[in-house]
């Protein structure tokens, strides 16, 4: 059996047998892996809380034919700041839910790993309301479904853009409008996020447009995944 080192974010875990878990991890070098953590559910496990979802860890893993086995784990970013805060925790979980849906098994996606680690660190240090929507938009762009935000997707008109329709792939003018209404402010914020001004967008003061951008990003992501996001429903309701 060969041994490899990697770092990764724990996406989810499944119970296995009496006291083990299968841990699904988005690693930097090996993509999404499934590895067994032996004895992790026992209170005296040497892994302790290091393999909980949202943990960013460095790993030593035995490669197996079907499942890998985790040999050692060290914490890179403790999930402490997220663990004790319901809003941050549920937002973190929504990042994991989306990443788990989008990433294939065992195919390196280093840009996705980098984005996830970055977004989790933002949630830990500065849990601003646009962290999750910005992540969703960036992820969609990385998946090749970048929405058209500059001109009407039907007629090419650059002014009076007042609607957003994911089925159409972007914004629409007053004449062609379908989908959801979008305010000028929400459009400006979304353009900032996707136009290389993400950090500036995160720092913008909270206005009604903030909630609008959150809504649009969730809608776009749900449209892309063709399913409702449970975790978003959870923190939006709180």
């Amino acid at each position: 059996m060969s041994l490899y080192r990697d770092s990764g974010v724990v996406l989810r875990t499944y119970k296995l047998g009496e006291s083990d878990r299968i841990v699904v991890i988005l690693t930097l070098g090996h993509g999404k892996i499934r590895a067994v953590a032996k004895g992790v559910r026992k209170t005296k496990s040497r892994f302790g809380g290091r393999l909980e979802p949202l943990s960013n860890v460095s790993l030593l893993v035995y490669e197996g034919r079907e499942l890998d086995t985790i040999s050692q784990v060290e914490t890179i970013d403790s999930l402490g700041p997220l663990y004790g805060d319901l809003d941050r925790l549920t937002q973190g979980l929504s990042l994991l839910e989306v990443v788990d849906r989008i990433t294939p098994d065992r195919e390196p996606v280093p840009h996705l790993h980098r984005m996830l680690v970055g977004a989790l660190r933002s949630l830990e240090s500065r849990p601003l309301p646009l962290v999750v929507p910005a992540f969703f938009w960036k992820l969609l762009a990385a998946e090749g479904v970048r929405p058209e935000l500059d001109v009407c997707v039907r007629c090419g008109e650059a002014d009076n853009l007042i609607a957003f329709d994911m089925n159409e792939g972007g914004v629409l003018c007053r004449t062609c409008r379908t989908g959801t209404p979008i305010s000028a402010e929400a459009l400006r914020l979304t353009r900032m996020i996707l136009g290389g001004g993400m950090n500036a967008a995160l720092d913008e003061p909270v206005t009604p447009a903030t909630a609008e951008v959150r809504h649009l990003a969730t809608e776009a992501m749900e449209h892309h995944l063709e399913r409702r996001l449970r975790s978003v429903a959870l923190y939006e309701r709180l």
């Binding site: 040497r46 809380g49 909980e52 004790g84 979980l93």
Partner: protein, 201 residues
């Protein structure tokens, strides 16, 4: 793919493989173990499953497993009715009971919030919990969900729901296992233990 085993054997492997924590390899191992058993042993197991399934149901009040409408704990008038311990699964009741530290009653959520697995608050027995809290007998809630991300999210969610009702809400402490070494503790556990420290008198 050609059938490797006789149909009856494959059916048994498939059924066992659907149980929690049993992978295809274990299902196969258990199947061949069962096939080697004397007939009466296998029948006793089959009957135990059928009888339990026929007799055991969930307590109408707390969702503990029970042979009657109310479980033995809910039906016991000596149990303190003012304190409710909220757990994820009925088997957690057994763990708490073994401590001998708790004399109140329970409420089983039948799971924990886990969006990635499609489990939100609606899938849990939360509405039923709130209905129980509607009567004035309950004054204190102890949130005894698992010390992991799902259990913690569930506890914090419940605390936010229940606190406005004016009840005392507490969460079991997380900390270091007795008998363990401090140097082996992970950052999260040790951090929680520090946060939950108490004055020594």
């Amino acid at each position: 793919m050609a059938a490797v085993y006789a149909q009856a054997v494959q059916t048994l492997i498939d059924e066992l493989g659907r149980l929690p924590g049993i992978g295809p390899k274990s299902a196969q191992r258990i199947t061949f173990h069962l096939l080697k058993l004397p007939t009466e042993d296998a029948e006793r197991l089959a009957n135990a499953i059928i009888t339990a399934k026929a007799r055991v149901r969930f307590c109408e009040q707390c969702f503990n497993v029970s042979e009657d409408e109310l479980c033995s704990i809910c039906a016991d008038p000596r149990r303190d009715q003012t304190v409710l311990c909220v757990v994820e699964e009925a088997r957690d009741i057994i763990a708490v009971e073994r401590t001998g530290e708790f004399r109140g009653r329970y409420h089983v959520l039948m799971g924990a919030i886990s969006p990635i697995d499609g489990v939100g608050p609606e899938q849990l027995k939360i509405r039923e919990l709130l209905r129980r809290l509607g009567s004035d007998t309950v004054q204190e809630i102890i949130l005894c969900t698992n010390p992991n991300v799902e259990g913690e999210a569930t506890a914090m969610y419940l605390a936010r729901l229940i606190k406005p009702l004016g009840l005392t809400v507490s969460r079991i402490a997380s900390g270091l296992p007795v008998g363990g070494d401090l140097e082996y503790a992970d950052e999260l556990t040790l951090g929680r233990a520090l946060e939950g420290r108490r004055i020594v008198d």
